[in-house]
Amino acid sequence: MTDLLNRPEGGPNDDAEGMAVEPITQWDLFIARLRRHRLAMISTIFLFVIIIVSFIIGPLLSCDKGAVECDFPQLWDYTDGLRDDNDRLLVNIAPRTEIPFGTDELGRDVLARVVRGGQASLTVGFVTGLLVASIGTVVGALAGYYPGIVDQALMRFTDLILGLPLLPVAIVVGRLLPELTFLPDWMQSGPWGIAFLLGFLLWGGLARIVRAEFLSLREKEFVEAARAAGASDRRIIFRHILPNAMSPIIVQTTLIIGAAIIIEAALSFLGFGVRPPTPTWGGMAAEGGGVAVRGFWWELVFAGSALVSTVLAVNFIGDGLRDALDPTQTIERK
């Protein structure tokens, strides 16, 4: 496993005739190439830790106000300000031992909010990624597999989506989301609405890529063989072509996850993203930017670092996957 790419011919696993007994699968090669990309490996571990902290430890430690009884120490309440013995709010306290990340302008514990804020930011990223991957793949696959009217109609629609000015549209829709009463509650506020909005705005690029892949793959001999063997269209698309087109889909989806987290942060900065009091890293960084002018740097720095390092990790993973999924690449990378 350790060095599949550089394994010499006639290695220790070969039998008497010099034939390899242990086959190397594509998956083995993929893992071997990925392990070579040290940054991507570190990023994967980092992102895993962030996900655990945001989705498991965060909700465990902090307790929602008005929810069931809270046995946790006040320190971890992210909705309410901290108070001293005289019941005064501890506003804009610099980081110290008991409050390692300090408190914000309303006296809330920044550490608790950073831990809690990852949930919304990551939800937006992953849900958007999932939506983009499914819409983009289906549209691209249908357009690439069925030439003519289907292809034309779907691609014109894709062009339309790609022609929309992303940020202005996201801003105006994000602003109006809470007021659109025909939407279900869970879409009007919170990360899911923003994720759906971004998902519907961002799938165009992936659809084009998938279509291009399908256009070239559907002419290949193995597809011809499958068709001659009587496979149905659905089987050819999902069992024969799609697995071969997976690598650009995976890489593009990873990049979309990073982009969605950033766009959500920008919307939160303008006040049109996930609405308070739900903390998000973007919203916190924006708040922190407001008070940083007065010297209270900690909220901006901690929330900003959480945001940037997470997106950075996602992008490094995307880079690593791009290299690892590319079968033509050999051992050039050092």
Partner: protein, 401 residues
């Protein structure tokens, strides 16, 4: 070619219609109107009735949409629009002209350079057309012929939407063009050097920094610049190098000529650099990849093999071909720069279209919101078409069908 352009224009118009319809319906569906605040006061009832009548808010939604659409494409003053002035608006034409000339001259030069066009008729046309643009522009400015579309009045009561948008457009142009120039002047050489010294320390640092720039929201970059390069720089060293609000100082008009230039630059650098940083990262990555691809090509090996000096190989053989793909990237990046401008303008108090947009959205000022979205949409559609055409001109292998 012409058929291709016309087809693309038709698609563009369809996109814009869909965009306007979706935004319009969303605004309608959101319920809350601009008069909500007035409704709190019972004595305002007649005013509300009058404004509802005046703005046509009581009509059916689709009728309101078609009224809006008809107004959006109708000139306010048909007589003046019949002249040659359709393209240039009420904008300070003096302000726009130098930019237009620079852009056109630059595009021509790049085109002629890359497409290796040397015919004398072409050079004559090139030289002439720059003069031509100047003369037309000066004539328009002097004759004060104005043109505007009836985009209605702002719900915030600050005048006609057209006037507001084109009054702010100059500021956004100044910011956007500066950001684009900065991105090109820094990003492309960076990518070239990274490609020439592949896997060197410089290359690794450049790649890492690009990744970080990609992963940082633009508002954090802008706030970071404000804090570090303006606020803390002044606090720690006492040097006031950059300004963080507005385009010029209040006392701008009293300054001397050189001081005025200095003032403009010191206001411009930080917001422009905030927008440019992400573009710098993407241009340098792109340029590096495209340069590496060219440097591994057969014709470059030939050039090296026949003993040409390294400098000539890189500048003449590699660079020319490696620059072609970036033209598309730059044209498509316009959407990103506009998006960056929306956020940066709000942070730096820059009186441009982006800040106008945010103000309008916050004040539920629908005519302005619609008009800004549509203006940006039109700009992006045009830039996409320009990108495709330019790519075909620069790369003879591309065909339009």
């Amino acid at each position: 070619m012409l058929a291709y352009i016309i087809r693309r224009l038709v698609y563009g118009v369809v996109t814009l219609l869909a965009l306007s319809l979706v935004v319009f319906l969303l605004i309608q569906a959101s319920g809350g109107g601009p008069l909500d605040r007035l409704k709190l006061n019972p004595r305002m009832a007649p005013v509300i009735a009058q404004l509802t009548e005046q703005w046509g808010l009581d009509k059916p939604i689709m009728q309101q949409y078609f009224t809006w659409l008809r107004n959006f494409v109708t000139p306010t003053d048909v007589a003046s629009a019949a002249g040659l002035t359709v393209i240039f608006g009420k904008i300070g034409i003096q302000g726009i002209m130098p930019i237009v000339t620079i852009v056109i001259a630059g595009a021509y030069t790049a085109w002629a350079f890359l497409a290796k066009i040397n015919q004398s008729w072409w050079r004559a046309f090139r030289a002439f057309s720059i003069v031509f643009v100047w003369v037309i522009g000066l004539w328009l400015a002097k004759s004060r012929i104005v043109f505007s579309l009836s985009w209605g009045d702002s719900f915030r009561g600050d005048g006609a939407v057209w006037d507001n948008i084109f009054g702010a457009a100059g500021a956004t142009f100044r910011l956007g063009i500066t950001a684009l120039l900065l991105a090109l002047l820094i990003g492309i050489p960076l990518g070239i050097f990274q490609a020439i010294r592949q896997y060197s320390f410089f290359d690794q640092v450049g790649t890492t920094l690009s990744f970080i720039a990609f992963s940082t929201p633009i508002f954090i970059i802008a706030i970071g610049f404000q804090l570090l390069l303006a606020l803390y720089l002044e606090k720690w060293t006492g040097v006031k190098l950059f300004f963080v609000t507005g385009m010029t100082d209040p006392g701008y008009n009293d300054l001397g000529f050189m001081a005025q230039i200095g003032d403009v630059v010191r206001h411009l650098v930080l917001p422009a650099l905030s927008i440019a940083l992400i573009s710098i990262a993407s241009y340098s990555r792109f340029q590096r990849a495209s340069m590496l691809e060219v440097m591994h090509s057969d014709y470059l090996r030939t050039a090296k093999a026949k003993g040409l000096p390294r400098r000539r190989v890189i500048l003449k053989h590699a660079l020319r071909n490696a620059l072609i793909p970036i033209v598309t990237l730059v044209s498509l990046d316009v959407a990103g720069i506009i998006g960056g401008a929306i956020i940066t303008e709000s942070i730096f108090g820059w009186p441009g279209v982006g800040r106008l947009y945010i103000q309008a959205i916050n004040a539920v000022d629908y005519p302005t919101v619609m008009a800004v979205v549509m203006s940006i949409g039109i700009g992006i559609v045009i830039m996409n078409i320009v990108a495709d055409i330019l790519y075909g001109v620069l790369d003879p292998r591309v065909r339009y069908d």
